[in-house]
């Protein structure tokens, strides 16, 4: 009953293109946004900000970047972590070279660097396809992480080889660095993630999104309906790497506070990939659902034994966590290869026609 859409008529195509043509969806989104912008920041503890809210947003953004390349354009990438690194190191260089640069701008610019490198590694995609391309993205992964370690200019010749986020103010408020408040950082991240998500929704539902999906579903046919394959793939690589780069900059500057090269190694890339798979490839919403699940899982695993008063070794929990994620991936693929997002879509369909079965 709640999700009844009868009576909501569209009288022109323009209204059919509203972001949420169904009134109930709009209501649901308003509720979620209200929670994200008002309720959570008021209620959340320091712990909740740092272990749940901020990382969920940042990981979801990174997964969104990957999803554009893999879920929409069908180009499997295993090098997401390294591109996050490019964003982070670029941002670090920008704020140390131009200390007065607005952090929001610096993060926006740092995405351009990873986009440029993404384009360079995207060039082979016209000749190298499928799994071969996936392996080729590993070349970017390993080479870039090696570079972060060996090219000391990147970390300003620190003895530690790590980058340390300086204290950065924006309009008189400290937004990054050890003294920044979690709430400010949360709003900062939330703003950027909201804007990029909206832009991503727009780009995926129009001509470019259709081009990507066409390339994904059947690249030969796409070429024969007039799509320039190289351009479509390069746009996907560029846009994807841009978003991933921005998420990397946020990752270090508004969450971790410091980073060593190996932070951006394979495990990070795979973490992002899991979020995208479990959430649903070819969906925007899925990245958020996947990120919530993957980020919350270890937290929940820690809480459950505590609630029962049982002492469990933390490394054992870590192993169980890995096992569960592995099993979850398999389970999601078997139950619904398109992930949590599709499961939600099916539930929504059912709600719309409820109480009737069809």
């Amino acid at each position: 009953m709640l999700y009844r859409i009868t009576g909501q008529f569209k009288t022109n195509y323009r209204s059919d293109y509203a972001l949420f043509p169904v009134r109930q969806d709009m209501f649901l989104l308003a509720v979620i946004l209200f929670f994200a912008w008002v309720v959570f920041p008021l209620m959340a503890s320091e712990f909740a900000f740092q272990t749940l809210l901020i990382p969920v947003l940042i990981y979801a953004l990174a997964a969104l970047g990957l999803n554009i390349l893999t879920g929409y354009a069908g180009q499997l990438s295993l090098g997401t972590g390294a591109f996050m690194g490019v964003g982070a190191y670029a941002c670090y260089k920008l704020v140390t070279i131009f200390p007065d640069l607005n952090l929001m701008l610096a993060i926006g610019f740092s995405g351009l660097f990873s986009a440029a490198i993404g384009l360079a590694f995207g060039l082979p995609s016209l000749r190298i396809k499928g799994f071969y391309l996936a392996i080729a993205t590993l070349a970017a992964q390993f080479f870039l992480v090696w570079l972060f370690e060996k090219w000391s200019w990147l970390y300003n010749y620190n003895a530690s080889g790590a980058i340390q986020v300086p204290t950065i103010d924006m309009f008189g408020i400290t937004v990054a660095g050890p003294t920044a408040s979690s709430m400010v950082q949360y709003y900062f991240v939330l703003f950027i993630v909201s804007v990029i998500t909206l832009l991503a929704i727009n780009i995926t539902r129009g001509r470019i999104g259709r081009m990507w999906k066409a390339v994904r579903d059947m690249d030969i046919a796409a070429e024969l309906v007039g799509i320039n394959l190289l351009r479509a793939k390069l746009i996907a690589f560029g846009v994807s790497s841009y978003i991933v780069g921005v998420s990397g900059a946020l990752f270090v500057f508004l969450w971790r506070g410091a980073a060593e090269p190996n932070l951006f190694d394979i495990p990070l890339s795979f973490r992002i990939l899991f979020i995208a798979i479990i959430g649903g490839l070819g969906s925007i919403l899925g990245n958020f659902l996947g990120a919530i699940l993957i980020i919350a899982l270890p937290v929940i695993l820690n809480i459950i034994p505590e609630a029962f008063g049982v002492e469990v070794d933390s490394s054992l929990l870590e192993h169980i966590n890995i096992m569960i994620i592995g099993a979850l991936i398999i389970a999601v693929l078997i139950i619904e290869p398109h992930g949590l997002a599709r499961i939600w879509a099916v539930i929504r369909e059912k709600l719309i026609i409820w109480p009737f079965p069809h």
Binding site: Y13, N202, A221, L224, N228
Partner: protein, 277 residues
């Protein structure tokens, strides 16, 4: 169902109006030869397609028909020969450029984008006609939306014309074969081609579906003036639909002419009935 909307709805597209008069030479294929490694797929074939006609290419399996279409729309690059399309001579080009010049096609084995809806599939046919760049796309409201709505209107006309309104939102992977073929025709029409290449448009269809498809082909040809070159194995359909027929066998042209001539040509009969070479 009668469709008063057709004449007013889909206008003969921008590119369909190619400045060539009906009956004028639209496509000329000269001495084309194509081989893969040592295997000759096409040897020394020449024929032409006139503006406004329905031209059939027939022949036994493996005669090189599909390869010929692949050459015409730039997917294969012939080793020898030249192609003149709308007065412009070329040896080969990238397939997406062929679309830009007004050549659209459908495929022997349906080549739709299975993860997308009928509507989106047909909309991809207009990719090449939509010009708003990435930044407008990201903003969406404004020029990109206006462009989207304008092209959606055209696509909806095609959907009406092909009588597939009810499956507009259905992912094409879930559609029966006959409807997929129809969606594929819709996607090709959305490109507003001046030359439409159809590769076995009726393969695997039942009688009723074949009749529908024949009707669509004739209407496309007569109402929009789109020139059509088609490959088909159903001889009844070919003889009824086409103005002229070219017959290939083992990569060579063995006959070319009106349906009556071809039907009575001894080489053609031999090729189909099988005479030792």
């Amino acid at each position: 169902m009668n469709q008063p909307s057709i004449q007013s709805g889909i206008q003969a597209g921008v590119r369909a109006d190619d400045g060539i008069e009906k009956g004028g030479l639209l496509l000329q294929v000269d001495n084309i030869s194509l081989s893969f490694g040592g295997v000759k797929a096409i040897s020394n074939i020449s024929f032409d397609v006139k503006k406004g006609e329905i031209r059939a290419i027939i022949g036994p399996n493996g005669a090189g028909k599909t390869s010929m279409l692949n050459v015409i729309n730039g997917f294969y690059h012939p080793q020898e020969g030249k192609i003149t399309f709308r007065g412009k001579e070329r040896i080969s080009m990238r397939p997406h450029e062929a679309v830009g010049q007004g050549i659209a096609r459908t495929f022997q084995n349906v080549a739709l984008f299975k993860g997308m809806s009928t509507l989106d599939n047909i909309m991809t046919g207009r990719s090449e006609l939509m010009k708003k760049n990435m930044f407008w796309q990201m903003l969406w409201h404004g020029p990109a939306l206006s462009e989207e709505v304008e092209h959606r209107t055209r696509v909806e006309d095609i959907i009406d014309f092909l009588e597939i309104q009810h499956i507009r939102r259905t992912p094409v992977g879930n559609l029966p074969y006959g409807l997929q073929k129809r969606v594929e025709l819709g996607r090709a029409l959305a490109m507003e081609p001046s030359l439409l290449l159809l590769d076995e448009p009726m393969a695997g269809m039942n009688l009723e579906e074949k009749e529908d498809m024949s009707r669509f082909i004739i209407e496309v040809n007569q109402q929009f003036g789109t020139t059509i070159a088609l490959i088909e194995h159903d001889m009844g359909v070919v003889m009824d639909l086409s103005d002229r027929i070219v017959v290939l066998d083992y990569g060579k042209k063995i006959a070319d002419g009106a349906p009556e001539e071809v039907r009575n040509n001894q080489d053609v009969i031999d090729a189909y009935l099988g005479v030792p070479h």
